[in-house]
Symmetry: C2
Subunit: 248 residues, 2 copies
């Protein structure tokens, strides 16, 4: 069976069997963590990354006053800690939102894999670059969009990402975030998130209940949120073209 990351990367570039083997070797050190487990703690150097096979993880930064800001959430197929591993100690913590299955990947193995397959490296860097684009989009979300638009936009983005790994479609997806966690991601209060969700429900745009986000009116939702998913699109053709340019 195809793991989430294999599915995702395959949608970026076509990988041959040697590359697929390299990728699957990266996922050897599997482990299971319970919901609530801390993967990487703020401030501690952690010279390994994780590939998330199943479940959700989120990266957050805690503030002195006890509040916190969720930077981004990782869904199956995402690389965890890619940014922090290479050159910096971790600036933020990672916590499992659900029970998860992760593969620990050491920096050495990652580099070795990159050396064996430039195409694989390109696909993974592309994925990392998409995740960074999402952080930027998140910044815009929080900085300049009203609470309701922000909420809609964020849930649409999550839906698009889940669809990319086959865990969601245009009708919705399973979302384990509590309203408190959603609030920490959106820079709002849980209470206000609740009201925004009610508004969205009353407008018959989306329903978020019992751990599932249902897009009741996807078109209307996209219009409300000004959602433009180009920042996380596949663009396999573009990536392939770039690779050819560089002779990889």
């Amino acid at each position: 069976m195809q793991t989430a990351i294999e599915k995702k990367l395959a949608s970026y570039v076509s990988l041959d069997s040697a590359e697929r083997l390299t990728l699957s070797r990266l996922q050897h050190h599997r482990s299971v963590r319970p919901a609530g487990a801390t993967l990487v703690d703020e401030g501690q150097p952690k010279p390994s990354a994780y590939i998330l096979a199943s479940g959700w993880v989120f990266a957050y930064k805690g503030l002195r006053d006890g509040s916190r800001q969720i930077i981004d959430v990782q869904v199956p197929g995402d690389l965890i800690g890619a940014r922090n591993v290479l050159f910096r100690t971790s600036e933020h913590s990672f916590e499992a939102l659900t029970d998860i299955v992760v593969s620990e990947v050491s920096v050495g193995d990652l580099f070795k894999a990159f050396g064996e397959s430039p195409r694989l490296a390109a696909a993974m860097l592309w994925a990392a670059s998409c995740e960074e684009a999402m952080v930027v989009e998140h910044l815009v979300d929080i900085g300049r969009r009203s609470a309701i638009v922000r909420t809609a936009h964020y849930l649409l983005e999550l839906g698009a990402r889940m669809k990319l790994v086959g865990l969601g479609d245009e009708t919705g997806f399973a979302c384990p975030l509590s309203q408190f966690q959603l609030a920490d991601a959106l820079g709002l209060t849980a209470i206000h998130v609740n009201r925004m969700l009610r508004q969205l429900r009353e407008k018959k745009l989306l329903t978020f209940q019992k751990g599932r986000v249902a897009f009741d009116n996807l078109e209307g939702l996209v219009a409300l949120a000004e959602f433009d998913m180009s920042y996380l699109d596949h663009s396999a053709p573009l990536l392939d073209q770039r690779l050819r340019q560089w002779g990889a």
Copy 2:
């Protein structure tokens, strides 16, 4: 004379004369742009990056309703477009805030330089990673800090960055941002920024007037903003240690 980027990178790792030569070769294609010029426009692929030699640039994303969010600002010594160049079309626009001097760097030259000197590559990736950490910090700023704390925090960060390239000290720095632009960076209204600046002035913490930010009471300011500059610290020792680990 040392350019800003040379000064900055030298503070990360010690570069030998060959590496310094490589770095200076990257800065051959100098050009001057007037304030207000657009370097990279949203949505257009742009297969080159820029090294900013002097002046300020900012990256922003415009929204349909005419408002915009400034993602980050680049000060002398920063690499512009590093993120977008390698694998993605540009998600946001770059605009010169002042008259600037930039060196255009093609992807090819960049890769070649990286091949010639792993230490140089590490230093530049480190710098890029610091810039990313600043975006994350910016996200936390906007998401979870009050307007006044946010304003103080942001100006402190800019001050720290300017100090890194020798353009500022603990008394303050020259800051060409208008209150409108500061507002677009902070996710606030220019009017509200004005009030926050007044409050900071009345508390004798900082004065922002005539294009200069003066830290009237740096200690108090750091306390108010909960400013912890570790996310953009030098850490030359750490980087050197990592390099040795990898045998570079």
